[in-house]
Symmetry: D2
Subunit: 353 residues, 4 copies
């Protein structure tokens, strides 16, 4: 248990930040799908570090080698394995005895008895999401062929909020995916950037919210009692290191609503059953209802900050201070957007197969 996910589409992740590389084995893909490797590269670039003044200046090529499962440019239907070599790893001076607050250093130390690869967070590094984005990008292509489009935008950074999805459609989501800084309201872009740069200047970091939508999702996906669409999506989303909250439709906003407002009335539209509103985010009773699937995730601020922090020395058992050097993201939210999309695509494809 642990590094493998999925029912029909299964994915196994491996790798550490400073080892040979990171990668994935994807099992259960349909055979014969012609892969658009260029599109995958574009998604990988959206996640890659070093592409913006908002992110870490650390550059990584993130070029994936396909080890198996592709023949003549198409999926074979058997396990597809990829490997992304680590290239830009500084053999820094790690201090595994000083766990970094907010990171998995301490919990990994307890769980693995000190044998974990602690360099750069090891298996807990966000770098492990690179092969996830590769897999998710392929899943998006397969979904597109089935008429399903999806994209996410930065819904909030610090105190600055974007507007919410109202009536997402395929064209709008397509356009969103191509933006380097995906927001719905262009006016929030600069204030959001300012939030990040202010945090960076303060040797600090800042959190945010990502909202994701998928359209063209057929009604009927998801299974009671234990594999509701919300269960599946949240399971995968909460694997992503920074994510600490997931809500569907109005989510926590439903807590202060009345049923008469929260219920989405059904109505006919061009001979098709739709809901007049979408407060439930396209899911009723754990099963998709054919309306846009909409959810939001909360990203905590990057735990790596340059400010001095309080910690303990695990060797001496005394309180200690820690300053994290190195190249870190003052805000992980922009780079997390394709990761959220990848999780969504993988879950939807798994449910559709």
């Amino acid at each position: 248990m642990s590094d493998m996910f999925g029912e029909k589409l299964k994915i196994a992740l491996f790798g550490e930040s400073h080892g040979a590389g990171v990668g994935a084995v994807i099992s259960g893909l349909p055979a014969g799908f012609e892969i658009d490797f260029e599109a995958i590269r574009r998604d990988m670039a959206r996640r890659a570090p070093g592409n913006s003044d908002l992110a870490t200046p650390r550059k990584e090529a993130d070029e994936a080698e396909v080890l198996s499962g592709v023949f003549n440019g198409r999926t074979t239907g058997t396990a597809l394995a990829i490997l992304i070599r680590n290239t830009n790893t500084r053999s820094g001076d790690y201090q595994p005895e000083l766990p970094r607050p907010g990171h998995a250093d301490y919990t990994a130390q307890v769980k693995y008895g000190g044998y974990q690869d602690y360099r750069g967070g090891g298996h807990f590094s966000a770098r492990v999401t690179a092969p996830l984005v590769w897999a998710g990008s392929l899943a998006k292509q397969i979904l597109a062929q089935k008429g399903i489009s999806l994209a996410a935008h930065i819904a909030r950074i610090g105190a600055v909020e974007d507007t919410r999805f109202t009536q997402p459609d395929a064209a709008m989501l397509e356009a969103l995916s191509s933006l380097p800084f995906p927001v719905l309201n262009p006016d929030v872009q600069q204030p959001m950037r300012d939030e990040v740069l202010a945090a960076k200047a303060a040797l600090d970091s800042v959190g945010g919210i990502i909202e994701c939508a998928a359209v063209g999702v057929p009604a009927g996906l998801g299974d009671p009692f234990f594999d509701s669409m919300e269960s599946r999506l949240s399971h995968l989303l909460f694997s992503v290191p920074a994510i600490k909250g997931v809500e569907f439709g109005e989510g926590f906003g439903l807590a202060s609503m009345r049923g008469s407002a929260a219920n989405d009335p059904f109505c006919m539209e061009n001979g098709r059953v739709v809901t007049a509103t979408n407060h439930n985010g396209g899911i009723n009773g754990g099963i998709t209802n054919g309306m846009p699937l909409v959810f939001r995730v909360a990203c905590k601020p990057t735990p790596s900050i340059a400010q001095t922090q309080q910690t303990v020395n695990l060797q001496t058992g005394e309180n200690a201070e820690l300053s994290i050097h190195g190249r870190h993201d003052p805000c992980i939210v922009p780079r997390a957007v394709p990761v959220v999309e990848a999780c969504t695509a993988l879950c939807l494809l798994d449910a559709l197969l």
Copy 2:
């Protein structure tokens, strides 16, 4: 996939609101545990309808028959099955062609092609949570023996908020569990009740938030990449029909925080590593850190309301109106508290085995 959950502790749920009954098969329990059936009955009563003016007046005995897995009052270690007969089912006049907004009626119709048992929501009825509470109550007992306590409280109903857990401990959680209307601040009880009664008077319903805490949880539970403690808990919690949001620690609040505030500094306390704050809800990198596990779930307002609602007639394909009669909860939140506790107990026990 679907009606079965868990890795080592596995649970299969079955049943419909108006069929023979509901029940569960629980596999992987430790052998030799002496069951406190009285304690289970108390938890069942907290979930049962008919116990308060805030809930549906419909009474159900909810007496569970143990079919297997218990011998001389103790668990045998093999599958434990329970059956809760349905006793108070009105053979009402159901209108399956008019899906109730906010319910699974329409999505079940699509998924099962009209063959689902539509009476009272069938398998999608909250009644299916009764055996879940039974199983969770047993899990709580086993956890208690391992020094783990947990309880939930009503954190919000409509606009009224309770205080949050600050430093939960076993005694406080124990006391909380015995309250008929569990809140931390007794002063919010009446305002919350007023919210419910106001919604009821308006032939409406209202939502809320439940906050849950577990203490005594050892550090080291949860597995990267795909079985983080958040992933496991949210998977089970999002199976519960009313739940539309889950957040750990500060959750969505982390979006507007800086890293310097969100990171929980480590410090030594009586020779033990603790964190000075607990904004991450006791989980770092998906693994428990030994601090209280704290999370919140958003419950949507009960979809069954007496007001007339818009829907469609699935037979004629025309818009229609619907009035839901019967005995319904104006607010499901109080009865959902033991369900949230049950999910937590089952997940923790599964991770501990």
Copy 3:
């Protein structure tokens, strides 16, 4: 792990020989299938004790109550639960300190620390196969609708061998299913019965072999590397207490064959690819090839025999003697035939869904 099986069609078994009853929860069934309860009853009767002088005279009604998942005579698509009450349990004088040779008494004692329900073998009783036969009989009906027929025959009892399947077809398998003592060559029936009666007279028991065939199985079922059709079938078959060997096609006979004889040459037949022989039992590379699926299982002799046996006293730690009284089968093979069919049907349906 343990009491649950399957990928898409999942089954959870529960129950003990002398508890309230035995049963199953079956998840993942297609919705809308009209169940032929009479046909299920016939299969249940084939497994039930008390129907022949070759079997235990102990009678059990084995009438299953459907607890959920059936509405208006059809499957709902959600979890189908059944319960078979125990009715004929003698509250005998059990001696759990004297483990019966060949039974699970000792291993259960070690595994469950003495808390297992030891009466009549408890959860290890062959009685737990009753709900499996129920589920398998339903699966057979669903398969029949898809053009797949299957049946098993007694291939050997003691020293007496039946002929093997050569070119099984649907009509022949149908006929086989209706025989009270299913053999291909009617001449072996009496000699086989004599083997059983001789063992019975000697206060002993005797083993045998069951051969099963399925026709109409489409090519393409089974998945490399780890879910070959052989893997799936053997996994389920080896759960059945008495089964100690499984072989596909020529099985162990292939060990002494040459490749030129063992390879099944392909040829065209009425525009369809078939194999001229079927030494591989309809499976190549773990995937069905469209030819009849044929396999054999070895059943050990019933461990319960009336002869005095050597054992140990687990309380005193001394060697001891044991005489098993009660009503036991001198040969379990005839009653195991529908169990083998049930396993086959469940595996095939799981692979087809």
Copy 4:
């Protein structure tokens, strides 16, 4: 389903015979285990081609690169990935339209619609067992630390039979593992070799039987109803392409035995419960009983033979003839010995974790 196996110890296999390479991701390993890479290399060499006149002369280095999960020579506890590059692949003239009898060519064609990598059998090549042997060899080391030893021998090739395991112990199994041609009775070695060479001379191949034993296995492993030790082992063993039969203890021999002979009487030995005989192969009721675990597998003759064979042309739909050229094993049995050991080690470790 498909390329992933295991409950606690999970393994995902990938790769094709003529692609970039083959490999595995192993999840759930204990942290801190110091790997003896030299011992793994020795096991890999036992499986590797080109080491004997009985095997294919095709040489492959089979050097595995560890991509993740090892730090400072020890397991980290997170996913361990290995990659074995393909080096000696002849870009031969493949004829995918002519499926080779006995191979997965035809079934893969049906299942994957012609998109499978057909070169050298692709994902169905026995080469995919190389990473399995690597993983199993590591598992053997971990088991050895827990006092469990295991080894297999060639029990039969063609008509020549080795003796069977009687009372295997750790020293004997250790010695067996180091033999280039592992048999219990040295006198059968030359006759077995002669069988292989005779088949080779006849442009043919020959099958055989492998018997495996594990000692030091604690009582109590395996779970009813669906995860008996036999179920788990057979599931993994039947994934190996050549294996068509699995039997535990006396296996099919039990069919002609009486209960009084087949039951293994319990007796005390040095204060420990043992069985006087071991006809059940160390497993009662699906659970290990502390006696040696003993089972046998049937290997079919290598399907690749140089003789002309009958097949069909999938493009023209006509009967055709096929001659397989290239370097093939006249008998796969010797090279399959470490594969059977690997399956055994992985299953036992999974059950022990």
